[in-house]
């Protein structure tokens, strides 16, 4: 009820110092828990802090230390399930370590857009950047840009020398394809992601590896755009062909759309064609037929990214964790030949 606009000024460390009867520097030492502080002095200071409801001004700290305690997320994904889940993991891990998180969504992935996004993040003085931009070309821009902020990427580029990590996409895709092979399928198509995407390439490689090892014929992949709508279109088109009995789709959305396309064209899943997806989005277990797919732990991926990035920032040795395992979820959409 009383005036809310009174706000004389937020208390500073000097106010705290005055109240506690010490110097401002002593207060600063308490805040950064410096070793040589007498316990009773510390108590006095902490007392004054809570009396005044003092909170350190992060801008001032950032100014003098030129560290912002903030991580940036550079995201070039529209808001799909996977990346979004990873972002949650990133934020949690970052907050746990005392970092705040500034997100920047890329609408375009042109070099200019990426460059300006990076500069923006640099202006904000983020201490490090997590890149969720799975396009190969983003990598080139990142390497080329002279902004020397530490960064990690959630996706592994093929011959990546930089720090990055990822679930083992190749292995996951290989497992998925082998699953179809074990069911007796020998003519297996691949509905791939866009050419430029790292994950699309990895998943395709896994598919090709599995077929090659089994001495089965490979088909030129159909290039999709990750969307269910494209999957639908592809399903309708494919229904005209009858030279295959199974399809491995590079993500669940396309798989689900494709099943719809098949359905509309009179092709039955799994009776006529088996379908396997990738990601295990929440609805995958509930669509009709339920979708066989490859599960991966997106939040954990995000958490690992943060740990890696912080090690880099602090100059510590990078923690070595093996590739994140993926697991096959065997459901109704895949059946024996």
């Amino acid at each position: 009820m009383s005036s809310a606009s009174e706000r004389s000024r937020m208390p500073s460390i000097r106010d705290v110092a005055r109240l506690a009867g010490v110097s401002h520097q002593t207060v600063s030492r308490v805040l950064n828990d410096h070793p040589s502080i007498r316990p009773e002095t510390k108590a006095k200071v902490l007392d004054a802090i809570s009396v005044l409801d003092y909170r350190p001004n992060l801008a001032a700290r950032a100014l003098v230390t030129s560290k912002s305690n903030m991580l940036g997320i550079l995201s070039a994904t529209v808001g799909e399930f996977g990346p979004t889940s990873s972002i949650v993991g990133i934020e949690d891990a970052a907050r746990e370590e005392g970092y705040s998180v500034s997100t920047l969504n890329l609408s375009a992935t042109s070099p200019e857009a990426i460059g300006s996004a990076l500069r923006q993040l640099a202006r904000e003085q983020v201490d490090g950047i997590v890149v969720l931009a799975p396009q190969v070309r983003v990598f080139h821009v990142l390497r080329g840009t002279a902004v020397d902020i530490p960064f990690v990427s959630l996706q592994t580029a093929s011959g990546s020398d930089g720090v990055s990590l990822s679930a083992d996409q190749v292995a996951g895709a290989k497992t998925a394809t082998e699953h179809l092979i074990n069911l007796g399928h020998s003519d297996i198509l691949h509905l791939a992601g866009p050419q430029d995407w790292i994950e699309a390439e990895s998943r395709m490689r896994g598919y090709l590896d599995a077929l090659r090892e089994a001495d089965l014929p490979t088909f030129p992949p159909i290039r999709g755009d990750w969307t269910a709508d494209f999957g639908y279109f592809a399903g309708q088109e494919l229904s005209r062909r009858r030279d295959f009995t199974a399809v491995f789709a590079a993500n669940d959305l396309m798989a689900i759309g494709m099943m719809h396309g098949f359905r509309d064209a009179g092709v039955r899943v799994p009776d006529d064609v088996s379908v396997v997806g990738f990601d295990d989005i929440p609805v995958a277990a509930h669509v009709a037929p339920t979708l066989t797919t490859v599960h991966q732990d997106f939040p954990e991926l995000g958490r690992r990214a943060v740990r890696l990035l912080l090690a880099q920032i602090r100059g510590e040795r990078a923690p070595e964790f093996g590739p994140l395992q993926t697991t096959l979820r065997d459901r109704e959409s895949s059946a024996p030949r």
Copy 2:
């Protein structure tokens, strides 16, 4: 190739001033485009800026102005499609206005958790907060907290005096229910969201309004938790009852799960039971049967939130936009009685 760790110091406005032969204050004026600056002076300064590749230090600016040019997002949603899409809209709009965005995910919605999240955001000196925490109780904490940072909420609380906005959930839910009524259904169940959620209440109200106006019987709603898994469970349970011919689910995920439950129990959709969802998530158009649902423009909602928030921050009059329209997407899951 050359040393990257040389970094003597970033250029400051004084460096720019020296190079341009003016005072640092003149540089500052150019940066904030102050009216009384001679064009040629401005040109000289801009020249020096680009030569030095100068970038303003946001921390220093934040320190002196005690404005951070940063908005906070307080999100208590796990990463579902709707809120996530809105966040994209928020970020775009914010960046467009020159604000950066700091996201904070709430894992728990206890008053303590909310309080500490708010304080964290306050420490970061965000100029305003967009709240994506549709739980009623979050509102109470927000009102109660003494942090006087402007905020808007993406969801409208029933008798909300504070600034907030939302798609017209009640109208959308009413339309959905009326759609079922028009198809000839008279016994319509509602699979609701959790009790505490604002949107759950609004959608239930729309459902009840429609039934009341049509003089049809209402049933006690089934309380769900938004997840497809719960929907599946509910579908199986409901299959034992035969006192209804249609269900309006409070979101698509539950609707899809429920259709799965029905399917497993031998109940056919839409032959035996019609189903309508809410949100229009990307797979809704592709599941079997395709799901009739209510579409809403999540990104636009986020953009509006930012415009409202900025008006509040700048002390301008709040832009008045009517409730965001929702549209019914009539698909296969609903059929005449």
